[in-house]
C-alpha cells in the first residue's frame, strides 16, 4: 500500500486589498482540512518562506493574486510536473503574479531558486487569482470577495483528490 503524498498548500498574500486572497483561501483550507494529516496549509507574506517548507513535500500548491486582464476572481491554474517540461509560459505566467517582493524575490524567482537547488517537489501547481485592487491598506474588492468561497471549494476538491 502506498502512502498518501504529502501536500503543502501555501497562500501568499498581504493585508492589502485583493492581495489578501492567498491568505483568505489558506484560512478557509485550514478550517476545512483540520483532520487531514497529509495536507499542510500555511500562509506566507513573502514567497521566499516557501523554500523553508519544502522538505518532505511531494506536491506543492500555491495560491496568489495575479495582475491580469481577465475578470476579477478568474483562476488560472499553472502546473509543472517532474519529468515533464513545464508549459512554455509557466514562469511567464507566474511572473504576472503579484509584482515583485522584498529584495526582488518574487514568487517566480523563489520557484526558480528552488528548482535550481532541486528542492521543488515533483508536482507544483500555482492557482493564480486575477485581482484588481492591490493598493496598500485597501480592503478586498467586493467582486473578489464574492468568489472566495468558490475558489476555496475548487482547490479543496483538487487537494482531496490528490
Amino acid at each position: 500500500m502506498f502512502d498518501s503524498p504529502s501536500i503543502l498548500f501555501v497562500g501568499v498574500g498581504s493585508p492589502h486589498g485583493d492581495d489578501r486572497i492567498g491568505w483568505h483561501i489558506a484560512e478557509i483550507l485550514s478550517r476545512e482540512l483540520v483532520d487531514q494529516d497529509q495536507i499542510t496549509v500555511r500562509k506566507a507574506a513573502v514567497p521566499m518562506d516557501i523554500v523553508d517548507w519544502l522538505e518532505d513535500c511531494d506536491e506543492l500548491h500555491i495560491c496568489d493574486a495575479a495582475e491580469s486582464q481577465e475578470p476579477i476572481g478568474t483562476v488560472r491554474r499553472i502546473e509543472s510536473t517532474f519529468g515533464q517540461p513545464p508549459p512554455a509560459d509557466w514562469l511567464g505566467c507566474i511572473q504576472q503574479l503579484h509584482g515583485s517582493s522584498s529584495h526582488d524575490f518574487s514568487l517566480a524567482a523563489t520557484l526558480q531558486l528552488a528548482r535550481q537547488l532541486s528542492r521543488l517537489p515533483p508536482r507544483v501547481v500555482v492557482h493564480a487569482v486575477s485581482a484588481s485592487r492591490l493598493k496598500e491598506g485597501s480592503l478586498i474588492s467586493a467582486a473578489l470577495q464574492r468568489r472566495v468561497q468558490e475558489i476555496a471549494s475548487t482547490i479543496l476538491g483538487e487537494l482531496a483528490n490528490a
Binding site: A45, V46, M48, D49, V51, D52, S102, H103, D104, F105, A109, Q112, L113, Q116, L117, S118
Partner: protein
C-alpha cells in the same frame, strides 16, 4: 562650452524598495551624483500621532518586512523610557534573542542571494545557486533557523505580533526554546563556514575613511542598548542624538538625508551598519566570532564597503552564539511589566541589521502618542553612499551605461539598503556629453 553626459540607473535590483541614480558628467568629469529615492513617503511618524501607544510596536513593525524587530525594539524601548518602565533582565534577554533571529535571517539573505552574486558576475542568487548549490542551501537553512527564532518568540517571522510595551504578550515555554538548540548549534558552525567562504571572495581595491557610528555597550555586542560612539571620538548618550545628528530634506529624494552636525560641510556624512558596529565593538564580539575574524584576517577597521559581507558573517556567528547562550539558560518568566500612563518623552536607539535606528516619542496621560520621530539606517547611510559613488564611479565608468549602472549597483548593494523603510531605491541616469560619446 562644457558638454554633459547623463547616466541613469532606472532601477536598482536586489535591494528593498525603489530608487534611482542620476549622474552628470561634464567634459568627462563627475559633476553631480544624486541618489534618488522615489517611493512615496510613508508618513508613519504622522499617523502614529493620536494613536494608543500599545499600537506602536505593531504599526512600526510594518515599516519593513525584513527588519520589523528593529522597529519594534526601538519603539518599545523609547516608549518604556517615556513611561519610566524598567523591564526585567529576563525580558531583556528574550528581546536580544528575538534580535538574534532577525540579524540571522536578514544578514544571511543579503550575503547569499543579494551581495554574493556580485563577486561572481552572476545576475542573481538563482544563477549563483547553480555554481554554489551547497553554499546557497546552507544559507537558506541558516535563514530558516533565524525565522524559527522569530516565530517562537514573535508569533510569526514576518511582522511579529508578540512584542508589547513592557515585554511580550506571552513568554515561550522552556521546551519550545530548548528544541531550537540543535539548530542553533548547527547554525553556529554553518556561519563560521560561510564567513570563511565569503572571505575568499575577490574584493575591489577600494577603501574610504569613514566616520563610523554605532552603539557601544560596555559588556556586550550592541543590539538594543548602549551609548552612541563614532570613530572620531564622539561619545554621547542616546538622549543627545538629535543634538549631533540631523535629518535634512534634499530636492532629489523623498527620503531624508541624515548629517553629523559637528562635522564640516562636505564631510558630514557617516557610516552605520555592520562595518561600523565591528570597528567600534570588536572586543565585544564573542570569542568564536573574534577567532573567525582572526582566521580570515579580517581588518576590523576596514574602510572597504564591499567587505561588509564579511562583517555580516561575523555578526551571524555572534547571533547564533548568543542565541545558544540565551536558549541554554532560559527559564520562563513573567512576560511583561505593568505600567501606568503618564505624560512623558522617551527615545531609544537599537542596531537594526542595516545600522543604527533611532526613535523618539511623546506620550500623554491618556496613553496616546503625541509625537513620533523615526530615523532609519538607510537615511543615515544615504549621503555616505553618494560620497562613496563619487570615488567609485571613475573605476566603473565605461561608455556602456548599463555596465556602469551594474558597477554602481554593486557598491550600493554592499550597504544592504532598505529603501522602502528609509521611507524608500534605484534607477541610474548618467548625463554624458556628446564629445565623450564620440570618444
Amino acid at each position: 562650452m562644457a558638454k554633459t553626459r547623463n547616466i541613469k540607473v532606472e532601477a536598482i535590483s536586489r535591494v528593498e524598495g525603489e530608487g534611482g541614480l542620476h549622474v552628470t558628467l561634464s567634459d568627462g568629469q563627475i559633476e553631480d551624483i544624486k541618489l534618488s529615492i522615489y517611493e512615496p513617503p510613508r508618513f508613519f511618524e504622522a499617523f502614529l500621532r493620536g494613536r494608543p501607544l500599545e499600537e506602536v510596536p505593531d504599526i512600526t513593525a510594518r515599516i519593513c518586512g525584513i527588519c520589523p524587530v528593529a522597529y519594534q525594539m526601538s519603539s518599545v524601548h523609547a516608549i518604556e523610557q517615556a513611561l519610566a518602565v524598567k523591564i526585567t533582565p529576563e525580558i531583556r534577554q528574550l528581546r536580544r534573542l528575538l534580535y538574534c533571529g532577525e540579524w540571522i535571517e536578514s544578514h544571511v539573505l543579503h550575503m547569499h542571494l543579494l551581495q554574493a552574486p556580485d563577486f561572481f558576475s552572476a545576475d542573481s542568487g538563482i544563477d549563483l545557486a547553480a555554481e554554489f548549490p551547497d553554499e546557497i542551501n546552507r544559507g537558506l537553512r541558516m535563514k530558516k533557523y533565524g525565522n524559527e527564532l522569530l516565530e517562537v518568540l514573535g508569533g510569526r517571522a514576518i511582522h511579529p505580533i508578540n512584542v508589547r510595551v513592557g515585554g511580550f504578550h506571552r513568554a515561550p515555554r522552556r521546551e519550545e526554546l530548548q528544541k531550537l538548540i540543535p539548530a542553533m548549534e548547527w547554525g553556529l558552525q554553518a556561519a563560521i563556514e560561510t564567513t570563511r567562504w565569503v572571505a575568499t571572495f575577490n574584493y575591489p581595491d577600494f577603501s574610504r575613511d569613514y566616520e563610523m557610528v554605532a552603539l557601544v555597550h560596555p559588556d556586550e555586542f550592541p543590539m538594543n542598548e548602549g551609548q552612541i560612539h563614532s570613530s572620531s571620538g564622539l561619545r554621547i548618550d542616546v538622549e543627545e542624538y538629535e543634538q549631533h545628528f540631523q535629518e535634512r530634506q534634499v530636492p532629489h529624494s523623498t527620503a531624508l538625508h541624515s548629517v553629523k552636525l559637528d562635522a564640516p560641510a562636505g564631510r558630514d556624512c557617516y557610516h552605520v551598519g555592520p562595518l561600523a558596529r565591528i570597528a567600534l565593538n570588536f572586543d565585544r564580539l564573542s570569542e568564536t566570532a573574534r577567532r573567525a575574524a582572526d582566521e580570515v584576517r579580517f581588518d576590523p577597521f576596514t574602510g572597504n564597503p564591499f567587505q561588509a559581507i564579511i562583517a555580516r558573517g561575523l555578526e551571524v556567528i555572534q547571533a547564533f552564539d548568543e542565541a545558544l547562550q540565551i536558549l541554554r539558560q532560559y527559564r520562563p518568566c513573567r512576560p511583561y511589566i505593568d505600567y501606568d500612563y503618564r505624560d512623558g518623552e522617551g527615545c531609544s536607539a537599537t542596531e537594526a541589521p542595516r545600522g543604527l535606528l533611532y526613535h523618539r516619542y511623546q506620550v500623554d496621560s491618556q496613553g496616546m502618542v503625541k509625537f513620533a520621530k523615526i530615523v532609519p539606517p538607510t537615511s543615515q547611510n544615504q549621503m555616505q553612499i553618494e560620497a562613496d559613488l563619487r570615488h567609485w564611479l571613475p573605476k566603473v565608468l565605461v561608455d556602456d551605461d548599463r555596465q556602469t549602472a551594474v558597477g554602481c549597483e554593486r557598491l550600493i548593494r554592499s550597504y544592504d539598503p532598505c529603501i522602502s523603510c528609509s521611507t524608500h531605491f534605484l534607477k541610474l541616469t548618467i548625463e554624458r556629453d556628446s564629445k565623450e560619446r564620440q570618444g
